[in-house]
């Protein structure tokens, strides 16, 4: 234990909150501290191998792991602090549906400041995609469980219970860039080809 702690620095507040997740402009005090200390924070997190993304027009800031290409010359490899997580198939598809809702919200909505979707509307889409087997009750249960997982990732947040609605959070947009969606599309294309070859081989066997 050092005899004396360093003096308190305001930038510690956004720093800790950034390590815990996204900082939104709605949290005015933290947001302002973050903006006024942006360069120090960038500097500080770079030492940890992290990149600070401040998107002022979206009103949010978050950290991401520095990629190998971004690592400056002379930097040794730093252990990773952020882990990447793989969403399950259903979680991925629900994220896609929600991403689409958010896109529409951005393009068409002038009244609300938040993107809030009805669970029932989402459920119709969920059913249309035939993602889970069983009757409506079972399917709804499964969709809700999937929502819960996305909630853990911070992508959505329960907005109201009656009627059941979910807020799609802005971070979803940042975490699902076009490149990632592209990769998902490729995986699905591959899957479809597999299905087709399987079918052909099955047909040949029966023939």
């Amino acid at each position: 234990m050092p005899d004396e702690f360093p003096q308190f620095q305001e930038f510690s507040i956004p720093a800790v909150l950034l390590l815990r997740g996204v900082v939104y402009a709605e949290d005015e005090r933290v947001w302002n501290l973050l903006l006024s200390n942006a360069s120090r924070l960038t500097d500080y997190f770079a030492r940890l191998g992290l990149v600070l993304i401040v998107n002022e027009s979206e009103g949010m800031a978050f950290l991401r792991q520095m990629s190998d290409e971004e690592t400056p010359n002379g930097y040794d490899a730093i252990p990773k602090l952020f882990h990447t997580s793989r969403l399950s198939y259903k979680q991925s598809i629900l994220s896609v549906l929600l991403r689409d809702e958010y896109r529409r919200f951005e393009e068409e909505e002038a009244h609300d400041e938040k993107c809030v979707v009805d669970e029932s509307a989402l459920f119709d889409q969920w059913k249309a995609l035939r993602l889970s087997p069983g009757d409506d009750v079972k399917q709804l249960k499964e969709m809700r469980a999937t929502f819960k997982r996305l909630d853990d990732f911070g992508f959505v947040r329960r907005f109201s219970d009656d009627p059941p609605t979910w807020e799609v959070r802005r971070i979803l947009k940042a975490r699902l860039p076009a490149a990632e969606l592209e990769s998902l599309k490729d995986q699905l294309l591959l899957k479809k080809e597999e299905q087709a070859t399987d079918r052909i081989s099955v047909d040949e066997e029966t023939a």
């Binding site: 896109r103 035939r130 998902l184």
Partner: protein, 492 residues
């Protein structure tokens, strides 16, 4: 006014449908109390529901059977696309929807203000005419760039002022307004002010319409991007350029300028001293809070505008436009692929990879399981009340607030002079408690000590006012206490 327009208006206007609705007076009264009298621009859902329930409860006493449905059902109805009396919206920093008045409801208020005249009691015709003449004269002078016209105007003004100075110097008499003129001008000012307050809703709405229009053009690709960009080099310009925008921003400059507001506050302070206006309570109220209210309203509209202009800027940004289109396309393709997979979703190896929060969360942050606290059950069947102990505790409790036992006994005696057997409730009616619940306990103590009648089988509810006006009213249930004349009690 054309018939065709009237037909459409009568058919579609939310303002008229509000006026025609069977519960109109109650709805308007409720909205007026909440939004206008309390000078609040918006209310959160839970607050508004609570207020409406309270309003309905009161209504059950005065007008039973009116507004009988559930409060939240009414709110949903009032902001539905058919009625549009309230606007429901989601604020970024709120966890529930908020409500504000729509321009249509503001129209209703403006109309009713006009016809009911409020407590101003007359329509100021003289001052309105003067206002019109001044405005028109001003317009003639202000719109002309002919130096001769301007000079002529200034000379006239100069002569008028000079004449007045000379006249006062000669006679020493200052011509003041007649009382009716004072009230007339005040009435005009207040009615304009009220209209002004209602206008904010319309301004906000019109900014929203502009945004919506650009959005739609953008999304539908109706206008060439170059065209839109030309129209909106800077998104803020779109909102600022139209007539309403120009006028609104000038208004904002005015109301947010410290010099102007200070001057306005000074004028208002003077106005409030004018004896002729001492009865114009509602008008005074409106004028008193006008600076703060107008500033708040202006800030609200500005905030909306900033948000809208961000939306527009994003929409008009070339780079993000391309990205947005790509994402929209990808999302569509993914949906299509998922559908084409049909029921065969053996896709466990398919999924998005996302970076999630830092792994700094320690598993030890979670608390260990602890046994829930158990309540100890005390068996009271054998319990013997200890009278001495109880009195002791009671005295300690009563001592927390100084009670003037003598005064309380005198008060009981005073009540006994008025009626033969006053109850505790009667005494408290006559002499409302000032020390809160403790005082009621004190009366119970006196009743017991002085052998008044206490009937424990009857429970009486009492409402005790807060101590020194702070805190809440307290509801207690006490045994029925009847104070008896001491002679009859065998004390005398």
């Amino acid at each position: 006014m054309q018939l065709a327009k009237l037909l459409v208006y009568f058919d579609t206007s939310p303002a008229l449908s509000l006026l025609r609705s069977s519960n109109a007076p109650f709805i308007i009264d409720f909205l007026n109390q909440l939004f206008k009298q309390s000078e609040r621009i918006s209310w959160a859902h839970s607050e508004l529901v609570t207020a409406l329930i309270a309003y309905q409860e009161n209504l059950q006493e005065t007008d039973p059977g009116k507004l009988p449905s559930r409060a939240d059902a009414y709110l949903a109805e009032w902001c539905s696309s058919e009625t549009r009396w309230l606007r429901r919206f989601l604020e970024a920093d709120a966890d529930e929807p908020s409500y504000q008045l729509t321009p249509h409801t503001e129209d209703v208020f403006a109309f009713l203000d006009l016809v009911l005249g409020k407590d101003l009691n007359f329509v100021g015709t003289e001052s309105r005419l003067k206002l019109v003449i001044d405005l028109l004269a001003n317009l003639v002078v202000g719109s002309s760039d002919d130096p001769e016209t301007r000079l002529q105007h200034l000379r006239n003004e100069q002569k008028k002022i000079q004449d007045e100075i000379t006249q006062i110097e000669q006679d020493g008499v200052v011509a003041t307004y007649r009382p009716d003129q004072i009230r007339d001008q005040f009435a005009t000012a207040v009615s304009i002010l009220k209209q002004l307050q209602g206008d904010f809703r319309a301004v906000e709405e019109s900014f929203r319409d502009i945004t919506l229009e650009v959005q739609q053009q953008q999304v539908a690709g109706l206008a060439a991007r170059g065209g839109i960009l030309e129209y909106a080099l800077n998104a803020e310009d779109v909102l600022k350029k139209d007539d309403q925008g120009v006028s609104f921003y000038e208004f904002v400059n005015l109301i947010l300028s410290p010099v102007q507001t200070e001057q306005l506050e000074r004028i208002i302070a003077e106005i409030r001293k004018i004896p002729e206006l001492s009865h114009q309570q509602e008008g005074m109220e409106t004028v008193r809070g006008m600076v703060t209210l107008l500033q708040r309203e202006a800030e609200k509209v500005m905030r909306t505008n900033q948000r809208l202009s961000t939306t527009l800027r994003r929409l008009l940004d070339m780079e993000t436009h391309a990205e947005r289109q790509r994402v929209a396309h990808l999302l569509q393709e993914i949906r299509g692929l998922v559908i084409s997979l049909g029921d065969q979703h053996d896709c466990n190896d398919v999924g998005l990879t996302v970076e999630v929060n830092a792994a700094v969360d320690s598993p030890f942050r979670r608390t260990f399981w602890t046994e829930p606290t158990r309540l100890e059950v005390v068996d009271l069947t054998e319990f013997q009340p200890d009278e001495a102990e109880r009195t002791d505790v009671f005295k300690q409790y009563a001592a927390m607030h100084r009670l003037d036992w003598n005064a309380m006994r005198t008060q009981i005696d005073e009540c006994l002079k008025l009626r033969s057997a006053p109850t505790l409730a009667d005494v408290l009616d006559e002499y409302p408690p000032t020390s809160g619940a403790v005082e009621v306990l004190g009366y119970l103590q006196i009743a017991k000590d002085d052998n008044h009648h206490i009937d424990e089988t009857v429970e009486i509810p009492l409402s005790i006012p807060p101590i020194q006006g702070k805190g809440n009213w307290i509801e207690v249930r006490v045994p029925l206490v009847t104070f008896l004349n001491k002679r009859r009690n065998g004390h005398a």
